[in-house]
Symmetry: C2
C-alpha cells in the first residue's frame, strides 16, 4: 500500500498519562514522534517518562502538531481548550462525544474514542501495542477542518488502529448499547445475585462460566462511571428504556408459556451474536477513490461517516488541496470490493468520485 500521509507531523503532546495516555505516548514514540507529557499529577507524568512513554514533561516550548487528551471524561473540555493554545490540532479519547464536540465547537478539534482499555488505569499497564487492530472512532462534524481530520486520522492509523468516522450522536447511542448499558446491566445483575448472600453465600458457587463472563465487567473501576453516565445521560436513558421494554416482553413470554415466542427471540439473538462483526485490518485488494470536494462545510464528515454507514473500511485518507480554501480532492484508500457500494453512495449524494485499482 502506498502511504499518502507518510510525511506526517512529528511533535505531539499527551495530556493525562495513565494507561491510555501512556500507551499513546509509547506508540507515538515507537512511530518516530517526539512526545511531551502533561498531567495534573507530577508523580504520574514522571512515571510515564521513566517508562519511556514521553520524551519530556510539561507544556512544550514550541508548537506541537497534535495533542491527545486522555484525561478522565469530566476533565476533557478544559484540557482540550488548554491544548488548543499550543497545539495545531487536538483530539481526545473520551467515551462520550456529542456533548464534548458541541461544547468545544472548534474546527481544529476532532473527537475520538479508541475502543480499547479504560481512561483511568495506571500507566504501569501502558503498552505500545494497545491499539494494534483496535477500532478507533473519530467524530468529524460539519465544522471540522478537513486537515485536522486528515492529520489526526493519520496519527491514529500510525498507532496501528483501524479508524472509522461516525457522527457524535451515532457514536454515543452505539456505545450506550454496546458498552454503557451492558455495564450497568451487569452491575445490576451482580447486585441482584448477591442479595441475601449472607444466608445463601455458598449457593453462589453455582454460578457457572456464563454468569462469570456476563458479570466480569462489573469488576472494573466504578469511579469512571458517574462521569460517563452524566455525559451520556440522554442516550443511556433511551437505551435503558428500550432494554426495560424488551425485558418486559421477555418476562411476558415466560409468564404466558409462549414457547414459540421465546424460541424466536433466542434464535434471533443467537444469529445476531454469531454474526457480530469482528474489528480487523483490511484483507482484500485495495483501490483509491478520488472525490473532488466542493467548497462547502461538512464534506469531510459527510464522506467519512457515509463510508462507515455503508461498511466501507477507509484504509487511508489524504487531502489534495486546491490552491485556495478548503476545496480540493479527498483521496481515500478502500478495499476494492467495496468501491462500487461506496461510489454508488457518493454519486447519490452528488459527488463525482473516480476509482483507481492498486493491484
Amino acid at each position: 500500500v502506498s502511504e499518502p500521509s507518510s510525511e506526517g507531523p512529528s511533535r505531539a503532546a499527551v495530556i493525562g498519562t495513565g494507561l491510555m495516555g501512556g500507551s499513546i505516548g509509547l506508540a507515538l514514540r515507537a512511530a518516530g514522534w517526539w512526545v511531551t507529557g502533561i498531567d495534573s499529577d507530577p508523580t504520574r507524568v514522571e512515571a510515564a517518562r521513566a517508562l519511556g512513554a514521553v520524551d519530556a514533561v510539561g507544556e512544550p516550548s514550541g508548537p506541537v502538531d497534535v495533542t491527545f487528551v486522555a484525561t478522565p471524561v469530566g476533565a476533557i473540555p478544559a484540557a482540550v481548550r488548554y491544548a488548543l493554545d499550543f497545539s495545531r490540532w487536538v483530539t481526545d479519547v473520551g467515551s462520550v462525544k456529542a456533548p464534548l464536540v458541541a461544547e468545544i465547537a472548534d474546527p481544529r478539534f476532532v473527537g475520538g474514542h479508541p475502543m480499547a482499555g479504560s481512561e483511568q488505569e495506571g500507566v504501569e499497564g501502558a503498552s505500545a501495542t494497545l491499539f494494534t487492530g483496535a477500532t478507533w472512532v473519530l467524530t468529524p462534524v460539519e465544522s471540522t477542518d478537513p486537515d485536522a481530520y486528515a492529520t489526526v486520522r493519520s496519527s491514529v492509523s500510525s498507532l496501528g488502529a483501524d479508524v472509522i468516522a461516525v457522527s457524535p450522536d451515532a457514536h454515543d447511542e452505539l456505545v450506550a448499547v454496546v458498552s454503557h448499558v451492558p455495564h450497568l446491566a451487569a452491575a445490576t445483575l451482580m447486585a441482584l445475585a448477591s442479595e441475601g448472600a449472607d444466608e445463601h453465600r455458598a449457593l453462589l458457587r453455582l454460578a457457572a462460566g456464563g454468569f462469570r463472563d456476563m458479570t466480569r465487567i462489573a469488576a472494573g473501576n466504578p469511579a469512571i462511571w458517574p462521569d460517563i453516565c452524566a455525559a451520556n445521560r440522554t442516550a443511556i436513558g433511551a437505551v435503558l428504556d428500550r432494554l426495560l421494554d424488551a425485558l418486559t416482553t421477555t418476562r411476558d413470554l415466560v409468564a404466558a408459556g409462549d414457547r414459540d415466542g421465546l424460541l424466536d427471540t433466542l434464535e434471533r439473538a443467537r444469529a445476531a451474536r454469531r454474526s457480530l462483526p469482528v474489528a480487523g485490518p483490511a484483507t482484500g485488494e485495495l483501490a483509491v477513490v478520488r472525490v473532488p470536494v466542493p467548497d462547502r462545510p461538512g464534506v469531510l464528515a459527510d464522506v467519512t461517516t457515509l463510508a462507515t454507514d455503508l461498511g466501507v473500511n477507509i484504509v487511508d485518507l489524504e487531502i489534495a488541496h486546491s490552491s485556495e480554501g478548503p476545496a480540493g480532492v479527498l483521496i481515500l484508500v478502500v478495499e476494492e470490493s467495496a468501491t462500487e457500494r461506496f461510489t454508488g453512495g457518493l454519486l447519490a449524494r452528488g459527488y463525482r468520485p473516480s476509482v483507481t485499482s492498486l493491484r
Copy 2:
C-alpha cells in the same frame, strides 16, 4: 482422607447419551463402574458406545444400582419413572428441580444438577473430566431415602464433582438468578444491539471485549430454553421482575444525575463480583462430624442443606444404620475450620453432633 463409601455399587444406567450422559458414562467407567446406555435415538447411543462412554446399550437385564437421567428437561419425568422400574436409586441432571421433585415424589429418587455443560449437545464433546471440580447440586427433601442420597452422593463424588445439598426451591431461584435470567438478559441485549443493524452494521465493530463477554451465552443452543423457561416459570418470572425493578432504579439514577447513588450501586456490584465464591475442592485439614439421627423424616435433607446454608463443604458422607429403620448416625467429613460453625447450627436444631479430627 479415609473413604467411608469406598465399597460403593458398581452397575449404572445412563438415559440420554448426549454430552452430559456421555460424560457421566465415561467418568463412571473410568471409576470402575459397569454402565448401560439408553437413548430414544439409536444412532446417538451407538455413538456413545463407540466412544467408550457405555459398556452396553439398552435396558439392563438385571437390576442396576444408580440410573442417571440426562435427557432434555421435558423428557425427564417419564425417564425417571421408567428407570425406577429397574434401578434401585435414580437421579437426574436437569436444570430445574422443584416441579420434577414434586411430581416424582419417590423416596428412591434424588434430584440433581451438575453446573457444567448443557443437556443437549452432542456426545462427541463428552469428556470423563467434565465434572472434575464442578459443583453438583443434589436436592434431597423430607421424603428422600437417606441411603438413596448417600449412594447418589458417593457416585457423583466419584466423578470428581463437589456435591452440595440445596432445597429444590432454593436451587430453582438461584439458577434463575445465575443462569436463566442472565441468559435471557444477554439475548435481549444482543437483540437490542442488532436492531437497525442494516444501516449501522459496521458500527457493531465498536463492540469491545466486555460486550462480547456479556453476550457470549446468547450464542448457545436456543432449543433447550423453552422447556427450561416453562419448567422454572415462577422463579424466572420473579427474578425478571426484580431485575426490571433494579434496572428502573438504575435508569432513574442516571436520569437524575445522581453520581453518589450510581457510584454506590457500582461499588457494591464490584465488591460482590470480586468476592464471588469459586467452586473447588476442600483444601484445609478435615474432621469427621458424627450426628446421631432420630427416626423421623427429613433429617438427611435438613442436615445437608443446613451445611450448604452455613457454607460448610461436605467432603464425604456415610450413613451408619441402626439395626432397625432409618435412625442411625450420619457420618460427615468436613473441613476442620468449619466444624464449630456446623456443630453450632446442628445443636441449634436439636442434634447432638460429635467431632473427631482427621489430622
